[in-house]
Symmetry: C2
């Protein structure tokens, strides 16, 4: 398991180099996924039949590609991936979700993506989301964020300033995935307060919060690799990304992303009865 | 309102011409939508504040384009569109949903598309779904169906043969949109029986049933324009598309699409207590 540790100090130019590496690596790994999309796949079941958690060849191909690229360029860095676990390193750790939204992927849908973040011991300092089918790439360093399609020039993205729940659009993958009864009840309270709730998003929800087309993104029971790549994008676009208690979201759990701090506090207040203690 | 009437007899070559026209027209109308996607939009609210039903400029631009193209090529045909109502015709009626999945569209998401079907008085005989952002086009004539991306050669698509609910993947936009309590309860029964349920699909769910990546597509409270373009695709790919009572789905309501007749009957049996009488 990845754990919090001393923060590794990184200069601005190093951070920029890490982000550029992440963009290039994510695109290259995405190419390894694409031949598997909408094709018959070899399905494993990690939970031994107790659940449905498909592991695709695309997942493994992409993570293998990323591990190879990271090892070649930054051999001292650690790597945590969904498929192949943790390789300890010097305090900087690349965190990989080769296909976030595996169930969407398996169903032929488009709302999935590759996530790659770099954790400095305290927080992810650069993050990338890439969807190879649509060739959409989001990137952020916690201060700025960009969107780029194909070979288009990257454009800066900003969150929206929606300041009240009754004007807000909320996205979540599926409320039933929130692990506790209290959490689902709190979610229902929040959904009742917002203007529009959309299901079925996975990583796209957070990309849309960063781009200012949604105001709130919420999921329950996440892992570190589900969020590390997304947090620097949302924060870089001007948003807020915490767990439901208002603390760090970078190890996953029940998380909330918002376009701005005012709306974030409104949503946290509603979610409070659902916080796991 | 569009009503059932005498079936207009159409030859095979006429049908093929209608389908080719529909492909070309859908692509051209899709281009009219694209400049509006992920841009600030002028939002109307059809329900006068009682609900949230955004009408976008993209919607209007696409429907206007389609009406102009149909009027020029087939001036005797009728036209029914979501935005501009019914123009009566000679018994053949083009049915337009310029953006199916308006809420997804407004949220910046990808699961939306333009739908165009041709109703012969009894059923839609050709149908097209086009997503201009991904350049994906699905087309069907009730006997065959094809998928095409961009300028790629169209490939024939087939539904999946999954024969039992416990192996099936189900897609729906949002169970809360099913209009009756009994309908939602019946849906919950069905969801409990399937292997995997995915939310947030709109027209993409039915495209994925046709392509064999989902087994069941279900929605409640639909309009004719929500389904006319999709039915010839699903049926053309080997699937079944009815309302929950097993009758014609082409006027909308609570609908079910399945990859095959065996699975369809299994699902209808579970949904039976939710049928509106």
């Amino acid at each position: 398991m990845l754990e919090f540790g001393d923060r590794v100090v990184v200069s601005g130019s190093e951070r920029a180099q890490f982000l550029e590496f992440a963009r290039v690596a994510a695109r290259q790994a995405g190419e390894a996924i694409l031949p598997c999309f909408r094709r018959p796949l070899e399905i494993d079941n990690k939970l031994g039949g107790a659940g449905f958690d498909p592991v695709t060849e695309g997942d493994r191909a992409a993570e293998t590609t990323l591990r190879r690229l990271i090892q070649a360029r930054y051999p001292a860095h650690g790597i945590l991936g969904e498929e192949f676990g943790l390789k300890p390193g010097n305090g900087l750790t690349w965190v990989i979700d080769p296909i976030d939204g595996t169930r969407a992927f398996m169903s032929g849908m488009v709302h999935w993506g590759l996530l790659l973040g770099l954790f400095d011991g305290q927080e992810p300092i650069v993050g990338v989301m890439y969807q190879p089918f649509t060739r959409e790439l989001w990137a952020g360093d916690g201060s700025h964020a960009w969107f780029q399609r194909g070979t288009d020039t990257p454009v800066a993205i900003r969150t929206r300033s929606t300041g009240s729940l009754d004007m807000a659009t909320l996205g979540t993958t599926n409320p039933k995935l929130i692990p506790t009864t209290a959490g689902r009840a709190a979610y229902d309270q929040l959904e009742a307060r917002v203007r529009l709730a959309r299901y079925g998003g996975d990583c796209y929800v957070y990309a849309m919060v960063a781009m200012g087309f949604m105001d709130l993104g919420l999921d329950g029971g996440l892992q570190a690799y589900d969020v590390m790549g997304l947090i620097p994008i949302v924060k870089g676009a001007g948003g807020v990304f915490t767990n439901w208690a208002g603390g760090s979201a970078c190890m996953g759990g029940d998380v909330l992303a918002s376009g701005n701090a005012v709306l974030h506090q409104c949503a946290l207040d509603v979610l409070k009865p659902g916080v796991q203690v």
